[in-house]
Amino acid sequence: MINRKAIGYITANYTCRTSSKLTECRPLAALPVFGRYRLIDFPLSNMMNAGIKTVGVVMPSNYRSLIDHMESGRDWMLDRKKGGLFLLPGNAFGASKRGMRFLLRDIIANKTLFQRSDLPYVVMCGCNIIFNIDLAEIIDAHERSGAHATMVYCRAEREHDDDVTALEIGEAGRVHALHAGCSFGDNKFLDCCVINRNVLLDIIDNYQDVDHLDLFEAIEPEFGRIDVCSYEFKDLAFGVFDEQSYYQRSMEMLRPDLNDRLFNPDRPIMTKAHDAPPAKYCTGSTVCNSLVSAGCLIQGTVRGSILARDVIVEHGASVSNSIIMQSCVIRSGARVENAIVDKNNVIPAQTELRGTPDATLIIPKAPLATKELATLD
């Protein structure tokens, strides 16, 4: 059954705190991850799996790759006659900030999205945290609680995490306060919430003078009058805030048990469809403990790595503990170790690229080869 209770709102205009070669050429929401996905696939798919048919995406300023990826929203069933995908203007202010990612100014600027709907709830999601969540269940739990808003959190598993916000939770799961940064065991906010649409419209009208704040920062002094509940998410949640966390979270997906949980076929993660053929393994290739995407051609050796679409690993080349993005070619005899090689790079024959497990070598995105440019539409 289609859940016609909520519309979606995704903030795709945030980046990460430290500038990175990986995000210089694209917004964070469009960062490729786990071979064939991009970060925004997770909030879009979570909303799709909850039957949400209207989604507004707050766009970053460098939106080209994000629009290229989402197109009409067809892959998430968002090419609707009624509802569909709405690209919303976003503010550059605070795009690299820590903490929550629902700047009030953006919400106010896009009031129309919330006014036009006649559904009772709005589901809000950022793009920095990867998880596969049953939003329909959270909407139901929110409805049962009678609260005005429900914030989704998980238990923090790392010692210090400055990029996220901790929730102080009291009786009946009510959120009392917010704290910047998380320590082990804290209630880590996942940049995901459900809020009553009419409450959101009230906030939009009454908090204009503090529009530089985040939605929940602005209403924190009135927690109580505005009833904010919490929901604990107990499955995998990966934050991507810097190169190191990106690399580590990616490598964790080489564990089949974690992979099965994130890519639960009951709640599929969708992405832009491509026509790449299955990956081809040639005679003499050696591959172990790796994720390999469609269109790859493997003649050499690949260990403990993630290969995106259309990667070629030639005879005698070796790739280990690395992330190789789309359309890279590792030429004969080249060695790549502990590296993230961004799109379109050709690693010349016999070259060595070595990072260490703690200091991953990053090769930035290369321009498209001229021949490929000529065949672009």
């Binding site: 786990f34 071979g35 064939r36 996905y37 067809r74 892959d75 080489l254 089949p256 992979n259 890519f263 599929p268 993660i269 969708m270 992405t271 469809a273 026509d275 053929p277 299955p278 990956a279 081809k280 393994y281 040639c282 005679t283 003499g284 290739s285 591959v287 172990c288 403990n289 790796s290 994720l291 390999v292 995407s293 469609a294 269109g295 051609l297 003649q299 993630i306 290969l307 995106a308 065949t375």
Partner: protein, 382 residues
């Protein structure tokens, strides 16, 4: 409806009984092929890559999966306004209705569809062949010959010629002199590929005439073409050079699948100039385990390989457990080979399972290819 130069009619209604267990539940063109594709993808991709935007797909046998797979043709970029893919099943009218009695009857019952699009030419295709062809070149040849009908042909080995419709042509100008279905003593090795371009008016006249003939079996090869030759119509052949295989039997299905492997296959799925498109479900990249061995294979998204795979095609969402061995085989989507099982020269149907430690098939090429139907579980002693 604006006037079109050429539309395609794709014959996809056959049962495909020679594919045995693989078509017990689905139509032949819907059978999975090449890891992530279905057989009909090759014809539909040819249409899309040839600029033919209007395709009628004639379905009859177990059409559900085929219909939902083809949909509006969006996966092949064919969902254009005033064009697109239309599924054409048999239907009833005020005068009654009947099943499609043959290939010609199927098209004859849809003359209305052809008239609605009002093309100059109609391309007739089979949905069970593996090849890449730019139909524009064939159409150009048809127009240059001012032909009534052009048949695409290719030379086949003489010893196989009696399996095909064989064409004898005028060596001077490619005009067809003789057409014989499966001749015992072929006098030519030019085989019809089952790809026809008709000038529309002639096609409609021929089909309407054939429909009234009680002795006709309503088949293009057996009835329509011989009749047109008899009437001394302008029949020409268009010689195709390249890879073309009928995947309608178990042995050709297996052999053609194996032909996709290797570093420089004659039919290369990796050719980006002429992409094969398909209506895929999004699945994550496949995972190759720490102790897995993979050599000379095609492996699709969503698979998990913990055992050994050699010289095989592994389709979407297959699982090969620890200590399992798969060789010279084709695993269709969702097949599961459990721990310690050994699968050789086999075709495992969609969502089939080979239980632990079971031995299935033999690498001996003189033995028949083992076939496991869709959803079938092979346990010990079976």
């Amino acid at each position: 409806m604006s006037k079109k130069e050429c539309i395609a009619m794709l014959l996809a209604g056959g049962q495909g009984s020679r594919l045995g267990a693989l078509t017990s539940k689905i139509a032949k063109p819907a059978v999975s092929f090449g890891g992530k594709f279905r057989i009909i993808d090759f014809s539909l991709s040819n249409c899309a890559n040839s600029g033919i935007d209007t395709v009628g797909v004639l379905t009859q046998y177990r059409p559900y999966l085929l219909n939902s797979y083809v949909g509006s043709g969006e996966a092949w970029d064919l969902d254009e306004r005033g064009a697109g893919v239309s599924i054409l099943p048999p239907y009833a009218t005020q005068e009654g209705g009947s099943w499609y009695a043959g290939t010609a009857d199927a098209v004859a019952q849809n003359i209305g569809y052809i008239k609605e699009h009002d093309p100059e030419y109609v391309l007739i295709l089979s949905g069970d062949h593996l090849y890449r062809m730019d139909y524009r070149k064939m159409l150009k040849s048809h127009i240059e010959h001012n032909a009534d009908l052009t048949i695409s042909v290719m030379p086949v080995p003489w010893e196989e010629a009696s399996r095909f419709g064989i064409i004898t042509k005028d060596p001077e100008d490619d005009r067809i002199l003789k057409f014989t279905e499966k001749p015992e003593k072929p006098d030519s090795n030019l085989a019809s590929m089952g790809i026809y371009i008709f000038s529309t008016k002639l096609l409609i006249d021929a089909l309407e005439e054939d429909a009234l003939d009680p002795r006709s079996s309503h088949d293009f090869g057996k009835d329509i073409i011989p009749k047109l030759l008899e009437e001394n119509r302008r029949l020409y052949c268009y010689e195709f050079h390249g890879f073309w295989k009928d995947v309608g039997t178990i042995s050709s299905f297996h052999e053609t699948s194996m032909d996709l492997l290797g570093e420089n296959p004659e039919f290369d799925l990796f050719d980006k100039n002429f992409p094969i498109m398909s209506n895929v479900t999004t699945r994550p990249p496949h995972y190759i385990g720490s102790d897995a061995r993979v050599e000379d294979c095609l492996i699709s998204n969503g698979c998990k390989v913990f055992g050994s795979v050699r010289h095989s095609i592994i389709s979407t969402d297959c699982v090969i457990d620890e200590r399992a061995v798969v060789e010279d085989s084709v695993l269709l989507p969702g097949a599961h080979v459990k721990a310690g099982a050994h699968v050789a020269r086999a075709i495992l149907g969609e969502n089939s399972t080979v239980e632990e430690d079971v031995k299935l098939g033999s690498v001996d090429v003189t033995k028949d290819t083992a076939v496991v139907g869709n959803d079938v579980v092979i346990g010990k002693g079976e």
